[in-house]
Each structure stands twice: as C-alpha cells, then as structure tokens.
Symmetry: C2
Subunit: 355 residues, 2 copies
C-alpha cells in the first residue's frame, strides 16, 4: 500500500527547504522502488492568509490520514500582532496535540568542518553527540486554567499539569533511546520547587528498574543550563518536560554553531511522526535562495528511520549531507572559510549528486 | 544609629566565605568610622540539623529586624532526600518571600585575566557586561494550587501566577537600572504560549512610555537561551519572571567561566536586601580552604551600594578584588595559568591588603 506523506511547507524559508527535500526524497524512493505519495497543505501564516486559521480542517484531516508529516517552518512578523488564536504557532501547537506527538527528539551532533562556527571553544564542543527528548503535548503548554481574572489588580494564570501516564510514556521512551546509545540518561527537572518535578523524579526512579543497564542522573534545570555549555560532552540522552525542553534544546542547538543543520522529530507510540528542522522561518532571507536546506533534509532522514523503518535509506541521506559538507559546500549561515558558497537550490543539487 | 547586618553562613563553603567577608567588611567600616553590627544565625541544612527547620523563627526575626542580610550558601547531599518542607532551599525561598525581596539582580561581567576559563571563545565573551533582573517572589515558585490530585492516574499541578502589580514593580525596577546603564532592556517571556507572558509584555510596553530614553526589545525565552551564548555582548539589562530568570541567570553565569566570582542581590523597594554569591555550597570542597571568597565579597560590595548607599566603599571592595586578580592570585576554580594559587584564607588576606 502507498505510504502517505503530508508536506506542510509553512512560511518563509519553510517553502524553499520543503520543496528541495521532497525532490530528494522522491529520488531516494524511485531508486529503491518504494511507493510513497506526497500531498501538500497549508499551515501557519500561509493558512491564516488563505483560510483565516493557522490550522485549517483540511490540513488537520490530511495529517490525521497520513503516515508522516514533513513541516518547513511557521511564523513571521506579518502575524506577530495577531491575537493568540490567530498566530502561526497555534497551528503547530494544535497539530502536535491533535496528532498526540508526545515525544520530541532533538539530536545535537557536531560536524568537524563546522566547529569553527560555534561560539564555544573547539575543545569543548568537539565530539558532542546528544539527544534531547522533550515531552511535547503536556505541561504548561496545555494546562488549564490559562487566562486572567480580577479587575483592579488583574491576575494572569498558567497551569503546569502532568498526569502519571503522560510522564511514564515519555520517560520510558527516553530510556529506550538511551539503551540504544551510550546508556546514559540525564533527567532534568526542578524538584526543589515544583510538585510536577517531584512526581517526574519518582517516575524516573521507578522506570530505571526496567532498564538496569542505563545509568540515570537527575539534574536541576538551572544546573543543566550551565552544564550544557560548560561540558556538553557530558550528555548522552536528556529527558525533560515541555517548557524546560523548549529552552534547553534551543540552548543546546547553539552549541554546534550550526542551527541550520539541526533536525527534529515528534513522535507518538505507533511511529506516526512530524519532522521539521529546528531553525525558524527566517523571514529576512526568505525567497532569496539563501536558506540552508540541510536541517530539513536531515529531518527527512529521521522520518525514514522512525516512521518507515528505512534505516539504510536514512543513512544514505545522512552520509550524502556529510559528504557535501566535507567537499566544502556551504550555505551562508555556516560561515565556512575557504569552501564554496552555494544557494539553497545548488545545495540540494549537491546532495542529489551525492546520493 | 547602628545599622544591623544579619549574617547567615548556611552550609558547606558558605561558612568559610561568609567568615572572611565579615572580616573584610569590619576593616572597611573601621577605616571609615561607620557604625555597623553583625549578628549571625542559622539557615538551610545547618538550621535543620540544629533546630529541625530550614528557617528557624529566630533567624527570620533577626532578618526582619536587620537592614541587610549576608548569606553564604545552602544545601548539600545530606539533606537531599528530605521531604520538601525540610530541604535547605526552603529556608532560602521562605526568607525571600517573608522579606518581600522581589528583585533579584545578577550582574555578569568579565575579568580580562579570567576569560580563558570560559567555555566560550574569547572574542564572544570579551567585554560582556550585563545585568539580569529576575522577579523573585512570584510566578510558579509560589502559585496555588501546587500539589497532586486523583488516584488511578495521579495528576501533579503547579501554578504560574502573576498579578499586574507584581509585574509592574519588577519591570519598573528594570527600566530604572537600564536608564542608569546603557539604556537597553531585553524583556524575556514566552508570549506565544503563556497568558502570564502576554500580560508581562503588555506591561513592559506600557511602562516604556515612562522611560522613552530606554530602548526595549521582547525576546522569547527559547531564543534568549540561544542568544545568551551566541552573542552575550548583545545584552545590557534583561528582565524576566522567576523561573525563566532562574534558568537564564545560571546559563549566563557560565559565560564568564568564573562562577565563583559572581555576586547577587535580592531587593525590595525600601533598600533592604539579601546578598549572596551565585555559587552553591560546594560540599565536595567544603572545609578545605579551597573556596573562592570573591563572589561573596562582591556581594558584600552590592550590599554597601544598594542597602547602605556607600558607593565609595563598594567601589573600594570591587577595585581590591580586581587588583588581587591582576596581581595573579587565584583560587582553584579559576584555573589561572602562571599566577599564584592561594586558599580561601590567603585570598581574603590579599583582598584585605589591597584595600
Ligand atoms: C513556536 C513555539 C510555540 C514552539 C514551542 O515553544 O514549542 C517552538 O519554540 C518549538 O520549540 O517548536
Ligand atoms: C535553591 C533554589 C530554590 C533557587 C531557585 O531556584 O531560586 C536557586 O536555584 C537560586 O537561583 O537561587
């Protein structure tokens, strides 16, 4: 049966990088005689402009019927003043929740030829290879109440809420990843202040009984924010709740100095997943053939691996990217010295050649 | 009238650095014929051991009657397994709340001779001079409900809550600091997700009308976590809510590579304040004459400036510290090459000599 891939280019450079990535995937599928279909839909600002909502019914329906979703990026200054319900991000948050994508994976790896672009010293970042596992459908992002009350001295409220089963499934997922890597799991919380963190810690301590081969440590979020910079090589797998994960994974993405290279996956239990590069819609360079498509291509590789179990095909994509970098091709953002600067389209050609 | 200073050494190296700092302050006061008294009390683990509570009545009473509080550090593995109410940190949180210390100030500055110790590249950190203003008595640290409900699938809840007036006073404070510095204020929030952040942003946009000479920008907390590392020199004053401030100020303290040097102040409107070094109680080196006392000494300088308006005396302390560093003296944590390594006591002697 044909596997269905929903493609949501979104806004800004999302469109350019999504287009090129589909081209590459088509080449791979053809080469291996796999049967996949691509169907495009609107999300974010583009959907607000065309349909008056960041997540149109049609888009949601397509995604619910698909085996995987490829997303470019959402957002831009055009919609920044919109009311909360009409912001591009709402489309993304709604989609995560509707699809039940509770496990966000953010691998942070380094490429020797790109280390110079890091704000950190070479000896600090060299060899970094970590995976951040962020809970994505719970916590303060979705808790109730979230609103205001009172008149004279108005009070704004947000609610951080986690059920036991929500924590159990993400923690279990993280243990599985740790088991298949260097068997080291850092659980990040704020157990000295938050009740939800104390429950989180209890569940981690319970789950480790199932994974005696994995070494667990607990780290407070403030301390983790320090250690990520001071000794990023300390980390293998990090697991944490939604908001802490948002902050720490972005902090970690800066370590490598190559934000444009970083992929992400958001999964649920049955392998359906949403795949998007870590970078944003970069309105300042949109439509100028300057965007780095490699983060999106590496996200597509994660799709092949996690949603379709096409490990060989995933590796081919990843190796093609490494080869192109090694050959000295780079987009603007990577600030490589001496190499050959290329635009989005040429970079995609190079990856196609390397496959 | 004699000004009263409460001294709470706390746990671990807190005791060593507090003792030396009092010595130095006594020397300064004597020299200028100022009339100050020092009274010591227990807090944190030391208080749990002696009185069964991290914040004994006696300690609270002393602090409430004092003009300023000097605190070493609290915490240690000995009390890590205690129930929440019997943790050393509870003493500190309780004291902040009871004294109403809503404005936490964390200056991050660099010393040329210490730049090598930073995990960041010299050209990235050189010249960094920022002030993080963190709201300290509200938000998710103190909101209600905070607890658990349900049996089968238990739910843990924490509440992020801010009233308009709580936000107004901290934002106003931050604008005042910005006005007296480089007139640039970065307000950090998560307005694309949190209602409390949207209210925060509205209040910042309203307050700037009172400070037209200050340039304001809004930054999302995930983006701020990146920019702090990528371009720390971008920042002058940062203002943010309690939890974001906890994370970002610790991240920022790593930039300089000299955590042991960093001071902090926690203030309320009438200049009463609590002053403590950013570093923790460091149980691994406690009692070994290895601790760096400079963070505590610089905190004492902040006390002279903010609680007692002794600007000249504050500068004398700060210059003495700079002089000692320039002369090449360093404690273990600073990893200076070529200089002269000294212990806590000798470092204090050197600062005394330099005054
Ligand atoms: C756009 C925003 C709501 C989103 C988040 O905070 O989850 C983004 O920062 C991310 O990490 O994907
Ligand atoms: C000890 C802890 C409760 C405290 C906090 O989170 O406020 C500490 O991390 C700090 O920043 O002073």
């Amino acid at each position: 049966m044909t596997k269905r891939i929903a493609v949501l280019p979104g806004d800004g450079i999302g469109k350019e990088v999504a287009k090129g990535t589909v081209q590459i995937l088509e080449a791979v599928f053809e080469c291996f005689h796999h049967d996949y279909s691509f169907e495009e839909a609107l999300i974010g600002g583009a959907a607000i402009d065309a349909e008056g909502t960041p997540l149109p019914e049609k888009t949601l329906k397509l995604c619910l019927e698909s085996d995987a979703v490829l997303l470019g990026a959402v957002g831009g200054p055009k919609w920044d003043q919109n009311p909360p319900e009409l912001r591009p991000e709402k489309g993304l948050l709604g989609l995560r929740k509707a699809l039940g994508l509770f496990a966000n994976l953010r691998p942070v790896t380094t490429y020797p030829s790109l280390l110079h672009a890091s704000p950190l010293k070479k000896e600090v970042v060299d060899g970094v290879d970590m995976l951040i596992v962020r809970e994505l459908t719970g916590g303060i992002y979705f808790g109730n109440p979230s609103g205001r009350r009172g008149e004279q001295n108005e009070v704004a409220v947000d609610t951080l809420e986690y059920s036991k089963s929500e924590i159990e499934r993400i923690v279990d997922k993280a243990f599985q990843f740790a088991r298949n890597r260097r068997k080291k799991l850092t659980s990040v919380d704020k157990a000295n202040v938050l009740e939800s963190s104390r429950m989180w810690r209890e569940i981690v301590n319970k789950t480790v009984e199932k994974y005696p081969d994995v070494q667990v440590e607990h780290m407070l979020v403030d301390s983790a924010a320090m250690q990520l910079i001071a000794r990023p090589n300390h980390f293998d797998v990090i697991v944490t709740e939604n908001m802490f994960g948002d902050i720490l994974s972005d902090e970690a993405s800066m370590i490598t100095g190559s934000l444009g290279m970083l992929p992400s996956a958001s999964l649920r239990e049955d392998n359906v997943g949403l795949y998007e590069p870590v970078h944003g819609s970069a309105p300042d360079i949109a439509g100028q053939d300057k965007a780095n498509p490699l983060g999106m291509i590496l996200s597509a590789a994660m799709m092949l691996r996690y949603s379709f179990q096409l490990e060989k095909e995933a590796s081919i994509l990843e190796e093609a990217v490494a080869k192109v970098l090694k050959a000295g091709y780079y987009t603007d953002d990577l600030r490589v010295q001496g190499g050959k600067r290329v635009g989005t389209k040429e970079m995609i050609e190079k990856v196609l050649d390397a496959i």
